[in-house]
């Protein structure tokens, strides 16, 4: 336990110091934090609960639009803002910007949670692939519909308020990095706390055999909805931060981007190892490094590379990095291995 505390403290210190050590990578590090949040929250459904969702992108996009709309709408008429297409007719003062951001992030986190609670009863009753396809449909439908709504910019997109004139680009990067790192720490603590309670065992029971769990007297629906609401809360928060970071929201390319972010979160969790605490974190980090490192080589071909990557990971590496480590060093994961049994298995191979 003590060793763990030191590890966490070291990571925390490193995380806070990171933008000052690598000043050139501030934006990349912020995106990495958001990606880790998304992977961690996807893992609650896909890994622990066994409900493979493509629909968490819904909450992410919702949070993105809500945060930006609140930030603008608190001080200026929203319709005229989108009409002007991000021209500098309305300028936020620093106080207005940070106030708007704070309120916006709260709204961006809370409203998706409520939405998840409302649609949860209907959607989470679906099982297996019906759930997967239904949530895929939800995400795409949200993108298509928000692309037709005039007040949030329709097809042309929505420019989020530019960062106020305090400290220039450096301060902007640090502000968004600390914000996203804060979200990451919050998410990690929350997820870790959840995973040490009975709640996680219930989620695992739902994954392993839902009917039996129900027969044991667990109100599975209640726990499924709560799990989804937790995911929605952090997804919305991450979306709100990402909207401010990117500075421009498009309905299908940035917010409800099922083709990119929606797949990324699934892929990262699977790459790292579903159903583990550290898996999504490792998976997201490896994935992001790979993406940023190699995307420039594949310039223009990145989606081709992404498609191949998905197929390869899903077919040849479904257990992920943590699963592979677990197979290799089961003792480290607290599993008792019978020596004779292991030898017998090796001989069988």
């Amino acid at each position: 336990m003590n060793k763990n505390l030191i590890l966490y403290a070291a990571i925390l210190v490193f995380g806070i110091a990171a933008p000052f050590i690598f000043p050139a990578f501030k934006v990349q590090l912020s995106i990495l934090c958001v990606l880790i949040v998304l992977a961690l929250t996807w893992n609650i459904q896909g890994g622990e609960m066994g409900y493979n969702t493509f629909g968490n992108i819904l909450f992410y996009g919702l949070g993105m639009y809500l945060c930006a709309s609140v930030q603008v709408g608190m001080f200026f008429p929203l319709a005229e803002w989108t009409e002007s297409g991000g021209e500098k007719t309305f300028v936020h003062t620093p106080v207005q910007f940070f106030q708007g951001m704070a309120v916006g992030l709260v709204v961006a986190a809370v409203v998706p949670t409520i939405v998840a609670g409302l649609i949860g009863y209907a959607i989470l009753g679906l099982r297996g692939h019906y759930f997967a396809i239904c949530t895929l449909g939800l995400g795409v439908a949200a993108g298509e519909i928000s692309g037709g709504i005039e007040i949030i910019g329709a097809g042309q997109g929505f420019t989020t308020p530019p960062f106020p004139d305090v400290g220039g680009l450096e301060a902007r990067g640090e502000f968004f990095y600390l914000l996203s790192f804060g979200a990451l720490v919050l998410t990690f603590i929350a997820v870790r706390a959840i995973y040490s309670t009975r709640f996680k065992l219930i989620l695992n029971a739902i994954r392993d055999n839902e009917d039996k769990a129900e027969a044991m007297g667990i109100q599975t629906m209640k726990y499924k909805i709560i799990g989804w609401m937790i995911s929605a809360f952090f997804c919305g928060l991450a979306g709100g931060i990402m909207g401010g970071l990117v500075g421009y929201i498009d309905s299908t390319d940035v917010a409800f981007d099922g083709r990119e972010m929606g797949v990324f979160m699934v892929l990262m969790a699977i790459l790292g190892g579903k159903g583990t605490l550290w898996g999504p974190v490792i998976g997201a980090t490896v994935f992001h490094i790979f993406k940023e490192g190699f995307w420039t080589f594949f310039l223009g071909w990145q989606y081709v590379a992404l498609g191949v990557l998905i197929v390869v990971i899903v077919i040849y590496f479904p257990e992920g990095i943590m699963g592979w480590l677990r197979e290799k060093y089961p003792e480290r994961f607290g599993e008792v291995v019978d020596e004779a049994d292991r030898k017998a298995q090796v001989e069988l191979k």
Binding site: N52, A122, I123, G125, L126, G128, H129, Y130, A132, I133, C134, L136, G137, L138, V140, A141, E144, I145, G147, G148, A154, G155, R259, V263, V266, I270, G300, W301, Y303, V304, L306, G307, V308, L309, I310, V311, V314, I315, P318
Partner: protein, 297 residues
């Protein structure tokens, strides 16, 4: 919102006819979906991209001066081999596994195809002009392009041929046997691996036909694949696996629904309406099933 539909009854007729002609095409794609779902127990997200690829084959024939209607013959032949290729490379590794694995793997194929088509053919919306002219009905109030009628007739012919083939031929019997019980079929000497490859190839060929027809009748674009997948999935779950009249009827129903959504909500919400309908159907199905489960208690 536009309530023209209720003021001018001829628009209703127009929408219904358009929808039915469109729905026949959807039913053809959905038949392929049902085939592979029933036989191999996989859900193919790349279905729509196979359709679009078939469409581009017809479009290229049109560009090189061949009448695009010949694409109906050429596209399925090429697509059959594309399908078998995809099966050999990817699908045969996901057949026996969890359905989600197949969804995700084919999602990867879909992204791959989308982007490759974008490179190869450009991101423009294209249309292969068949030059078939139009038919006017009811005092010129209802306008039907002949190409739509042509495409509906061709898809019905293909569907009937396929049904007869599945009933009569040796391969068709092997496919049906594998769908019923793959293990038993294997024991009785059916080469299931070959059957799976053939099934996926036939599915891809059907997509090729549908795509060629869509490129003649409507427009194609590299990123338009996913809606076709969702439509065919929806038709299959409404009709149920192995229910051919149901597939045809629900395909036409979906077509009519889409035309009305187009008129009433506006074209920009058309795809959104399709996806929302999917969600609604699944949720309706869930409540119906849960009622049945309670009844059992």
């Amino acid at each position: 919102m536009d309530f023209m539909v209720f003021q001018y009854p001829m628009i209703t007729v127009q929408a219904c006819l358009d929808g039915i002609l469109l729905g026949v095409l959807f039913a053809l794609i959905a038949y392929g979906m049902a085939l592979q779902w029933g036989v191999m127990n996989i859900i193919n997200i790349a279905q729509g991209d196979l359709v679009i690829l078939g469409g581009y084959i017809a479009y290229f024939m049109y560009l090189y001066g061949i009448h695009p209607a010949w694409g109906v013959i050429v596209a399925p032949i090429i697509m059959f081999f594309v399908g078998v290729g995809i099966y050999k490379l990817v699908i045969n590794k996901v057949v026996d596994r969890d359905l989600f694995i197949s969804i995700l793997a084919t999602f990867g194929i879909s992204i791959l195809f989308m982007q490759l088509m974008n490179f190869a053919f450009g991101a423009d919306v294209v249309l292969a002009n068949s030059g078939y002219g139009t038919t006017f009905l009811f005092d010129n109030n209802v306008v039907l392009p002949n190409s739509k009628i042509f495409s509906a007739v061709v898809s019905i012919v293909f569907a009937i041929c396929l049904v007869i083939y599945m009933k009569k031929s040796k391969l068709g019997r092997a496919i049906r046997a594998t769908a019923q019980n793959a293990r038993a079929a294997k024991i009785l000497g059916v080469d299931t691996e070959k059957v799976y490859a053939a099934t996926f190839g036939i599915n891809a060929a059907l997509c090729g036909v549908a795509g060629a027809l869509i490129s003649i009748t409507f427009t194609i674009h590299p990123y338009m694949g996913l809606p076709y997948t969702i439509r065919s999935f929806m038709i299959v779950i409404v009709a149920g696996l192995g229910n051919l009249p149901g597939v045809a009827m629900s395909g036409m129903g979906l077509g009519v629904f889409e035309e009305f959504a187009d008129y009433i909500l506006g074209t920009e919400f058309r795809i959104g309406a399709v996806f929302l309908l999917l969600v609604l159907i699944l949720v309706y199905r869930r409540f119906k099933l849960s009622r049945k489960r309670e009844y059992l208690k």
